[in-house]
């Protein structure tokens, strides 16, 4: 009877999900309600978790709870800490959830809500969650080794080196692009800039408290810090209202870029306890709170989708970024469906804390489903605003024009009606000078979130507070990614530089710290500056570059996972990782090729460089602008070179893996797995002790 009941419940979930998804995909009537998106996503996730992840766990990985995990074997109270399943789920989710699933879907809304939503759901269930889950499993079986170490041992030494370089490259591009999102969000915004600036002294205060007054009391310190940050959001409006204070906190893009570069350098050099760690605590609490509030807001308000399911820009002529749905929808969504960066978390911290192998399913697969849901919510928030407003915020001035009248005329000519006064009224309502040409996703997401929040609490009166709360939330945790990433990048540079000159690898040697910090900050800072001065707004070129780098890293992770599964003789089910890997290689190679060689100057880096060079040669560029244009030409060629090198790296790694696979399958090479030896758990059934945290 119970089995029948279970079957009926799951059948209802599956039918409900299919029905809601069909409504999202095929309904062309009145504006669709967001509830359909939530129902479609949640039901699909439940079915994917119940069926697909169970299949992967049982048939492909054969998880074994009788086998001791690294946390049980080493249990040193530092890295290896046996941790309750749900606590570790929270840790893992806080680590993997970054700005990507918020910004990517917001940008991809330029194609309409349908392509992005479908990829967020399907990509997560079939690729992203699978990658996180299997890499986590592989790392657990290898004492918590990193992706680079696993690539070196299981694929080849060269494969490991390529993975290491790929991680550094993605880090540089990632840091540049997220910094650009912050610059575009805070440009000419004294309220937003003040609020974000205040998080620095608040973090310093917390740092001193946690280091000297109440060591390690993170909860009380963070709650106090969060209260101060929320006060700073409110105080920001007084700053914006005062002409002299507003002037002091109003910066252009270039100044903001240099301020962020200086901040990144300071965060990499200063002691971790002083700035970086306390900021991270603040960010973790605010991030969790904001994501939960957004989910609650969407369920309460149930906004209607103003964006059509498909826009005219599926042909590749979009103003936010150039390129057709294939491959650029997948490249742009990136982290919300599959993120290569997650494989670094799944093969670093989490595997050392997991209590039992079976927990890998909910932590690896489940946490990524939740991240995908965050992406769906971002898509809902972006699609709930009128498309005219969306395009006015996210399009660069060089495409839609720099004045409200010009922008309204251009965007209306695309078929998305926009009055010239609409943007000015909206900017006034959210307490900003302008919302035009704020490419990067953060301001439009903040407008969407503010409209949802203010419909729940406060109405139009609180719209400006909610907008700046959303901007603060996005910028705060983007800067957390930036400072933590810069510091990790510094260690990577030190490790690589140490191969040339040993003292540089010493992590406590101040000249080495300063030099390696300057190198990593200089690298991402250059790309950031390039994005800020780019006439197309920077996001147009940098976000796809970031997406390509991220998806390439995911391909690296899947190559490693497939090699390990092959060595484990799981040939029958090898398609579980092989198909997403082939898909990712196809997507990234197509995108890389188009970004480098496409004849459309808005899409191809080289054709853009050539078109600018031709304009100089034909005298169309003013004498005073020639040096600037030549810098733009250099930047386009640099972007082309970076894309080419990234693509080449994955091809070399793939070739290495294919040689290895062929040798194993043909019997010419023994399939040697580098798993840690089997140790029986003390916590298996029959053991009378209590596993810490497992109650």
């Amino acid at each position: 009877m119970r089995r029948v009941l279970k079957f009926v419940v799951w059948l209802s979930v599956a039918v409900g999900g299919a029905g809601a998804l069909a409504k999202v995909a095929f309904d062309r009537g009145e504006a669709l309600n967001a509830t359909w998106f939530v129902v479609a996503a949640v039901c699909c996730y439940l079915v994917a978790y119940r069926l697909y992840s169970a299949f992967v766990a049982a048939r492909l990985l054969v998880l074994d709870d009788r086998r001791a995990t690294p946390a049980e074997i080493h249990d040193d109270g530092r890295d290896f800490v046996p941790t309750n399943k749900w606590v570790l789920f929270g840790h893992h989710f806080a680590a993997i959830a970054g700005p990507g699933p918020l910004v990517g879907p917001t940008l991809a809304a330029q194609f309409g809500y349908l392509p992005g939503t479908l990829w967020l759901i399907a990509g997560a269930a079939l690729a992203g969650c699978v990658q996180d889950f299997i890499v986590l499993f592989c790392s657990i079986r290898r004492d918590g080794k990193t992706l680079g170490q696993m690539a070196r041992e299981e694929v080849s030494a060269r494969g490991g080196f390529i993975a290491q370089i790929a991680v550094l490259a993605i880090m540089v591009i990632l840091l540049a692009v997220v910094a650009l999102v912050v610059v575009n969000a805070l440009k000419s915004s004294p309220w937003g800039t003040f609020t974000l600036a205040m998080t620095i002294p608040i973090a310093l205060l917390l740092g001193v408290y946690l280091r000297f007054i109440r060591p390690g009391r993170v909860l009380e310190a963070s709650l106090f810090g969060v209260a101060l940050v929320l006060f700073a959001v409110v105080a920001g409006q007084w700053v914006a209202a005062s002409p002299s204070w507003a002037r002091a906190f109003t910066f252009g893009g270039i100044t903001l870029a240099f301020l962020i570069i200086a901040y990144g350098f300071a965060a990499a050099v200063l002691p971790v306890w002083l700035l970086l760690a306390p900021r991270d605590y603040l960010s973790a609490f605010i991030k969790t709170g904001a994501v939960l509030s957004l989910a609650a807001g969407i369920l309460l308000v149930r906004p209607h989708m103003m964006m059509p399911p498909l826009t005219r820009f599926i042909d590749g002529s979009g103003p936010v970024f150039a390129g057709k749905i294939f491959p650029f929808c997948f490249i742009t969504i990136a982290c919300g469906a599959i993120s290569g960066f997650h494989s670094l978390i799944s093969s670093g911290t989490t595997p050392k804390m997991i209590l039992r192998e079976s927990h890998a399913r909910v932590i690896g697969y489940g946490a990524m489903l939740l991240e995908s849901f965050v992406g769906v919510m971002a898509m809902v928030a972006a699609s709930a605003m009128p498309p005219g407003v969306y395009f006015a915020i996210n399009s660069p001035a060089s495409i839609v024009g720099g004045t409200p009248e010009a922008a309204a005329a251009t965007i209306s000519s695309w078929g998305y009606h926009l009055e010239a006064g609409t943007m000015a009224n909206l900017a006034h309502a959210v307490g900003e000078q302008t919302l035009l040409n704020r490419a990067g996703g953060a301001p439009s997401l903040a407008v969407g979130m503010a409209q949802i929040f203010s419909s729940t609490i406060g109405g139009d009166r609180l719209l400006s507070i909610w907008y700046h709360f959303a901007i603060m939330f996005e910028a705060l945790f983007i800067l957390t990614v930036l400072d933590a990433g810069t510091r990790v990048g510094r260690f990577m540079v030190q490790e690589l530089a140490g191969r040339v000159w040993k003292p540089l690898a010493r992590t406590g040697w101040m000249p080495g710290i300063l030099l390696s910090s300057a190198i990593i900050v200089g690298m991402w800072g250059y790309f950031l500056y390039q994005g800020v001065v780019d006439p197309l707004g920077g996001i147009n070129s940098l976000w796809p570059l970031f997406g390509i780098a991220n998806q390439l890293l995911a391909a690296v992770a899947l190559v490693v996972a497939t090699t390990i599964l092959l060595k484990m003789k799981r040939l029958r089910w090898i398609w579980v990782t092989l198909v997403p890997m082939v898909w990712l290689v196809a997507v990234t190679m197509t995108a890389s090729y188009q970004k480098i060689f496409d004849a459309n100057p808005n899409l191809g880096f080289l054709s853009k460089a050539n078109s600018l060079a031709a304009q100089i040669a034909s005298g169309q560029i003013l004498q005073a602008k020639i040096a600037e244009t030549q810098r733009l030409i250099f930047n386009q060629r640099l972007d082309a070179a970076v894309t080419g090198v990234l693509a080449l790296m994955i091809l070399v790694l793939l070739a290495e893996a294919l040689v290895q696979w062929f040798a194993i399958l043909s019997g010419r090479r023994e399939a040697i797995l580098h798993e840690a030896p089997y140790v029986a758990t003390q916590w298996a059934p029959g053991f009378t002790g209590t596993a810490p945290g497992d109650d």
Binding site: N84, A95, P215, G348, F546, P692
Partner: protein, 68 residues
């Protein structure tokens, strides 16, 4: 009786939530360290709460721990 059971259940759930929250945010890390069975310095010297806090965050922020 049902009220007593409900109160007991609520107390138990709150206690578990509180413990989970302390573990999630790192408040319980030092207690975990003191109770760890495989601690390499267990035979030598136990770190103080201050030393442990600084050492722990130095290690945590030396590897990728925040994602995009």
């Amino acid at each position: 009786m049902p009220i007593e059971r409900a109160v007991h259940f609520a107390k138990h759930a709150l206690r578990r939530f509180w413990r989970g929250l302390r573990e999630w945010c790192g408040d319980a890390a030092y207690e975990r360290y003191l109770g760890a069975k495989g601690r390499p310095d267990a035979e030598r010297r136990t770190l103080t709460a201050k030393e442990f806090y600084v050492e722990q965050i130095n290690r945590r922020y030396s590897r990728p721990n925040r994602c995009c």
